[in-house]
């Protein structure tokens, strides 16, 4: 475990070095992050100047949700998107072989290998929005304070599991970029609580694309709107999704090592 953390650190460092070479790009990305986050917060403020509650969500909870959205999205773009894109490229070019020949978990080596370090800024902005939102929520209890980070980590893991499962299709179909693009477009819907969407879309966002869960549940926890049972289901569901996705990935890998020439 410690070894894997060290590896993560070194992956992160090499990518950071690379990105620091493109300073202008770095600055532009950060500015863009601020603009996007700012307008989203602005939009919510405008919305709440007409109403105090949106389908049970008040301004504080809504800001926490938006912050969670940027945290989860930022995490996805920080490591998952670059790594999974690279993974599919490896399958296409046959360079996945090199990862399979290393004495560490191939899944780890492939899916957490590449970083877009600048997305940390996005996550930082998300964290700020969460904090601002929290400051508007009175009396946060111990359970909420503990449950929130757990729910957030589950959110990260859920997104990871889903992307892992989706990208596994690359073993059989090689080109699955469109599938991934579809996923990223769904991602955007996560900036509003799943509760505000009509039934069918809510189901899609929570089950097929668990972005709804990944973002909404942590916000619900902190707003005191989720019971321990719900959180328990989230944890179990996350573990199940992770195990299942990893199993599916290994299955795909078997067909890769079983048949590639």
């Amino acid at each position: 475990m410690k070894r894997y953390l060290r590896l993560l650190r070194i992956f992160f460092r090499t990518e950071l070095q690379y990105e620091l070479e493109y300073r202008l790009n770095l600055v532009l990305e950060i500015v863009q992050g601020i603009v996007v986050t700012g307008t989203s917060v602005g939009a919510i403020l405008v919305l709440f100047s007409y109403t105090t509650v949106l389908n049970g969500w008040d301004l504080g909870a809504m800001l926490v949700l938006l912050g969670c959205f940027y945290l989860v999205q930022g995490f996805g773009e920080l490591v998952l998107q670059p790594s999974f894109e690279k993974f599919m490229e490896h399958v296409r070019l046959g360079t996945l072989d090199f990862a399979l020949l290393k004495p560490v978990s191939a899944q780890f080596l492939v899916t957490l290998r590449n970083f877009q370090v600048v997305q940390l800024a996005q996550m930082g902005l998300g964290a700020i929005v969460v904090v601002v939102g929290l400051s508007r929520i009175p009396n946060i209890g111990f359970a909420e304070a503990v449950g929130f980070p757990i729910a957030l980590v589950c959110g990260f893991a859920l997104i990871y599991a889903l992307l892992l499962a989706l990208s596994t299709f690359a073993f059989w179909f090689v080109r699955v970029d469109n599938l991934m693009a579809l996923y990223w477009s769904f991602m955007d819907a996560g900036r509003f609580p799943v509760d505000v969407y009509p039934g069918w879309l809510r189901v899609t966002l929570s089950s097929a694309v668990p972005i709804g869960i990944a973002v909404t549940v942590p916000a619900k926890v902190i707003a005191g709107r989720l019971d321990p049972l719900g959180l328990g289901f989230l944890i179990l569901g996350t573990i199940a999704a992770f195990v299942l996705a990893s199993w599916f990935w290994r299955l795909g890998l078997r067909s890769y090592t079983g048949a590639s020439a």
């Binding site: 590896l7 070194i10 360079t95 072989d97 560490v104 090592t257």
Partner: protein, 350 residues
């Protein structure tokens, strides 16, 4: 015997000798779908595919001792890469057994992966955008190489490969040859005991090819690593391998000294006679053997191996003063190989 761990196995079933690579009746059958040309056929195959089994490797057996450099030869599609992939653990065989350093490769145990490397001339494991030195650091962590050893290895490889400043430039800025050198360094950074080299000089210019060759020879000499190498360039093989294994259509055709390959596979010799003042065009030499070519006073004659001395003597005798020079040689190795692959030969083992 298939399922015991390597060190334990070594105790239970001691081997005859210390073979580093031990391959027995190794087979790999691929199931491929085939279809005819055209949209109609494509659509039909979309619905129901015709599958066909292709024997990429059809039962080969060989052993390689520690420290050997063995050339693995065969035309495209002979099964070389498939075999290397099975030996490095990337592919599961359909049948048969293989042990490398007493490990079953396709179990991909970490201990095995740490002691071998697979280098592919047409693929790179280096990250394009960053200098190789950074990739080396990542590899150091992956292989858990102690700092001291890491520095020493990098220093040695930098020297042997004449890397100089190459490792500090982003890989994308390197030429193909430079990249291959750096690739070698990356592949050998963990000091593997066995190296599988798949076309390591492909696409390189002559001087870079010979530099890589010198490196492989020197590396083998210094570290005693066992090397199995495939190449389309016979120069690679001649320079590096005393022993060659030839496969064709998944079957082993020859396994033995490179020096004997010609004798076994091409039972003829080439007599080259240089004649004075244009006599080459007029002299009737068909009686001595098959005249292969005549150019600028030089005649090349192919004769059966066992009559070569007698024919040569006769030529010298008969031509007398008209002869300026004469040589008797084995046919060029490329020609031998080509002959092997174009004819239907049965297995010959040395």
């Amino acid at each position: 015997m298939m399922h015991s761990r390597a060190p334990v196995n070594a105790v239970i079933m001691p081997r005859m000798t210390e073979a580093v690579v031990d391959v027995r009746e190794l087979r790999k059958t691929f199931r491929v779908s085939e279809r005819e040309e055209g949209l109609g056929a494509t659509l039909r195959s979309f619905v129901s595919r015709h599958r066909k089994d292709v024997n990429a490797v059809a039962g080969i057996t060989f052993r390689i001792e520690a420290g050997e450099v063995v050339g693995f030869l065969g035309p495209n599609g002979a099964g070389k890469t498939t075999t290397l992939k099975m030996l490095s653990g990337l592919l599961h065989p359909t049948a048969g057994e293989a042990r490398v350093l007493e490990y079953v490769p396709w179990r991909r145990e970490n201990a095995y992966l740490k002691s071998m490397t697979l280098l592919m001339g047409n693929r790179t494991q280096l990250v394009w955008d960053i200098p190789a030195a950074d990739s080396f650091r990542v590899l150091q962590e992956i292989y858990r190489i102690p700092e001291e050893q890491f520095r020493a290895t990098v220093k040695e490889l930098t020297e042997l490969l004449e890397l100089g400043e190459l490792v500090h430039k982003p890989v994308r800025n390197l030429s193909l040859g430079e990249r291959m050198k750096v690739e070698f360094a990356a592949g050998l950074i963990h000091s593997p005991r066995v190296a599988f080299l798949d076309e390591p000089t492909i696409g390189l210019d002559i001087s870079m090819q010979s530099r890589i060759r010198r490196f492989v020879a020197e590396y083998n000499r210094r570290n005693g690593a066992t090397i199995l190498l495939t190449s389309h360039y016979m120069d690679d093989v001649v320079a590096l391998c005393k022993r060659v294994i030839v496969i064709h259509r998944g079957r082993l055709l020859y396994d033995g000294p490179l020096a004997d390959l010609a004798e076994r596979m091409a039972p003829y010799k080439i007599i080259t006679a240089t004649l004075h003042d244009g006599a080459a065009s007029s002299a009737d030499l068909d009686a001595y053997g098959t005249v292969v070519s005549r150019e600028e006073g030089r005649v090349t004659i192919r004769v059966d191996r066992h009559v070569a001395p007698e024919r040569t003597a006769r030529l010298v005798n008969d031509l007398g003063d008209r002869l300026a020079d004469i040589s008797v040689e084995d046919p060029p190795i490329e020609e031998v190989i080509d002959r092997v692959f174009t004819s239907e030969q049965t297995t010959v083992s040395a």
